[in-house]
Symmetry: none
Amino acid sequence: MINIGIVEDNVKIRNLIQRFLDMQESMSCKVAVDSVEEMLDHLKEHEPPDVILMDIQLPGMSGIKGIGIIKKEYPDIEIIMLTVYHDSHKIFDSLVAGASGYLLKHTSLPEIKESIENLVAGGAPMSPQIARKVIEHFNKPEPEKKPKSDLTAREQDIVNGLVDGLSYKLIADRYDISIDTVRAHIRNIYKKLHVNSKAEVIAKSLRGEI
Amino acid sequence: MINIGIVEDNVKIRNLIQRFLDMQESMSCKVAVDSVEEMLDHLKEHEPPDVILMDIQLPGMSGIKGIGIIKKEYPDIEIIMLTVYHDSHKIFDSLVAGASGYLLKHTSLPEIKESIENLVAGGAPMSPQIARKVIEHFNKPEPEKKPKSDLTAREQDIVNGLVDGLSYKLIADRYDISIDTVRAHIRNIYKKLHVNSKAEVIAKSLRGEI
DNA sequence: GCACAAATCACATATTCATGTGAATTTGAA
DNA sequence: TTCAAATTCACATGAATATGTGATTTGTGC
């Protein structure tokens, strides 16, 4: 018997899913609340469910924040997000927070049931569209890197020197130019990047923002 | 009509899948070969299929290597891996190489059909077990980070200030301490990290070495 | 040829940083 | 309690950096 909890603020949807799941022979769904806070209250005084279906947009604490809190206290509870949001950011945040699955709300009741069964069998239910976005995160982690700061080749050299922790003097030696030239380049780099210290240049560079 | 190609060296499986898919009204599967090399030869002289089902363990070039070559030449072809391997490494390599889906070989024929339909509809078919491993990659990407540089909490604060590009003065203001205290902390940080400039601390920190 | 950006160099100065030395207070572990 | 580490502050000095104001040379495009 799989025990299921629901956190969903839309009463109609919540009741629909609860009734359907509770009707299944292998499942029990007695707890359906409309906020993370209520679920936390419930968990304090009752046996925790095996699986929680959770919305993202909720009154009070967001579902994504809720994942972290619930998983921290009750690491054995598996959480499936059930939401209308299909933007990469929310998906990613949910999975990083500890969700084990991510379904879109147009998912049919039998599919939800199947997803829960999948989950307890060691799988991770995901709508195919979600899986697609997850995969895209994998195979192109740098499609949007176009900081394009218009640094000239020489300026990039100087930045590399800074990142290597070199002083102006050492950079000058490395490229066999005068320290005043290094200063001049750095002045221009600062202008282009809108910064005013080595530290910021190094930070920007290592963050991939150059 | 979805055009499908198969690369699979097990003749029985290959024929079975080919016959089943070709039988579908919305699909056509005329090309079924047993190596990436043969598929490449075929692609040179024929219209490329929309989707290729690909095994990993193949005579000659591996399926994972094949993904990269095929996607480079024919970026519009969607590739679904169909294999017995469920280890994270092969899954990850396949997705990074450009596969759009990953199914295990025990997947039923109707599920394969459904997966292909999912794929052309913009989804990414994955067995739930595979999805699970993919998710695990997401929500614990830092099990191996053990730089452990023994910085105290306060020292870490100072490092954060440096990374934010602040001057000693501004760090002092941020934490409401004197600039000499900041100096003292930085002195200790330099000792612990064996460096001797802000630049190096920032670089180390942003590289995750602190 | 001419305008213009890039790269080079120079001199000057105020600020910030690195480092040395010394010390008081707090805190947690032995 | 006693000791070590952490945190706090002070004073001092030479090195490095940030910024201003120049200038020369070279290559590119129009």
